[in-house]
Amino acid sequence: MSPSTLLDERAEARPHPRQEAAARARAASPRRRRAVSLGRGLAGIVSLALVWEVAPRLGLVDRYFIPPLHVVLGAWWDMVLSGELRTHVQASLGRSALGFSLAVVIAIPLGAAVAWYRPVRELLQPVLEVFRNTAALALLPVFTLILGIGETSKVAIVTYACFFPILLSTIAGVATVDPQLLRSARVLGLSPVTTFRKVVFPAAVPTIFTGIRIAGAAAILVLIAAEMIGATAGLGFLINYAQFNFLIPKMYAGILTTSLLGLAVNYALVALERRFSRWRP
């Protein structure tokens, strides 16, 4: 019987490692259970698609404002064929990837440095909290004012939005490393640099990844909004442009694409995270 509630699932009995060894097996999650959970997830998606298709046909919602799914998918496919979608996705993806990478490259070393020195950490933490809680989009006019309406301001706002989650999670990850691990590093006579490289940083990686995932979502979110305000290409531009011109199916196709893009980014980051934290239970 497979556990159905969260409580059953987490409180399940497990064999002692010696028993596992005796059975020459690891407590493996059965393949069947994975298939079932995948099937259920798929069923959820299919139901959503059905509702979208059927509700406009039955007249439950206005067909003109919310066209049936097949119309939207048709518009989407046309854009794929004409290469229009590719241009927009490329523009958006390029900007968010650049902004996101910049944030990663700056925020991780900076966060590590801030966390390493307690006075610096205590000095900067409140300031950083203020910045983090300032919505990136609220600063968009400022960025446009200073950096102009071109690519720079869009990349900059993505970097800004990605920067704080990564920075704060790096600080948290580095500052909360198990003191016992640091003690054993000292017993082994490791230098501070080696201790950082071999103990502190690996220990902080899972926490840092939490920030990276938040940043990944923020990168797309903020970029779409920025593109809606001033751009000539990109998914945000596409959605806004389609709406202005009453190309409703095209608008939904654009929205659908941003969802897919968001999903893809999140899954890629989760996969990467798993790759780096295979050691976690």
Binding site: P17, R183, R186, V187, G189, V199, A203, W279
Partner: protein, 279 residues
């Protein structure tokens, strides 16, 4: 190969904040502690909780410096941690992102001078020594408490320190696992000839393991007596040293020493608070 450790007139004071008046006070953890640990011996240190046992270990490990007195190993003063001494803590201090084998390799990397293949080989040899050869590829979360502590012991031994310092390493284990690990530790000590300083609050453990048992008194921490036990652990299978009259006698002797202290301390509660107001 091993070196003698000498502690002369060692004192250690900490600044602590009082419970009732939030004043900074000086807390005397150790005062005038004298102890000599001979090369290659197995010394256990028992005492009531809070008597400063772990402080003694931290001092020998070089993790803290004493407020007064001198510590030396093989004639050289102890100024900091070194690879001639290794420590096994009560909490398992394995790196959770490394497998059992890689955790041992971690210590060998710190020591340096070995290539990757040799490190792996040495790590597997020591895993075998603690009976975990089949678990080399497991991560700490896939091991039981006893196994984790075995890996920690293997790691401490892997770089061949002269002194193995152990701070209640078996405190968190169940009784059977603890007894088995105690027996294994005695075997390992015999085989390697490493000096072992083992801290515990468990009298039976102290008597079973130690050639000598140093009994500490608390507040301030001092060595009260050293009991020579020198029990014959016997080579033959099925011999239970814990059942011998000699074992019982030593157990009782140390138990009485610790009990006496408690009675002596109770009426002298005012004197017990050797805590001075600093400012």
């Amino acid at each position: 190969m091993s070196a003698r450790i000498v502690l002369e007139g060692v004192g250690q004071t900490f600044l602590v904040r009082g419970d009732d008046d939030r004043q900074l006070r000086e807390f005397v953890a150790l005062d005038g502690l004298e102890l000599t640990i001979e090369a290659g011996e197995f010394l256990t240190l028992v005492g009531p909780s809070g008597c400063g046992k772990s402080t003694v270990l931290d001092l020998i490990a070089g993790l803290t410096a004493p407020s007064s007195g001198r510590l030396s190993i093989g004639g050289t003063p102890i100024t900091g941690p070194g690879l001639d001494r290794s420590v096994v803590f009560q909490q398992y201090t394995l790196l959770p992102w490394r497998t059992a084998q890689a955790n041992i390799e971690f210590a060998l990397e710190a020591k340096g001078g070995l290539d990757r293949a040799t490190r792996g080989e040495v790590a597997r040899r020591y895993l075998d020594l603690v009976g975990l050869a089949d678990f080399a590829g497991r991560y700490p979360h896939e091991l039981s408490g006893g196994m984790k502590q075995r890996v920690a012991i293997a790691r401490s031994l892997s770089y061949e320190p002269e002194v193995l310092l152990m701070d209640e390493p078996f405190g968190a284990l169940d009784a059977q696992t603890r007894e088995r690990l105690q027996e294994e530790l005695v075997q390992i000590w015999r085989r390697t000839g490493t000096t072992v300083v083992f801290i515990t609050h468990d009298i039976e453990e102290a008597v079973f393991l130690g050639q000598r048992v140093a009994v500490m008194s608390g507040r301030p921490g001092r060595i009260r007596t050293i009991v020579e036990t020198q029990l014959d652990h016997g080579g033959e299978e099925g011999f239970d040293v814990r059942g011998t009259p000699a074992f019982a006698a030593h157990r009782h002797e140390i138990w009485s020493l610790l009990r006496e202290q408690e009675h002596a301390a109770a009426p002298a509660a005012t004197e017990q608070q050797e805590v001075h107001r600093v400012a």
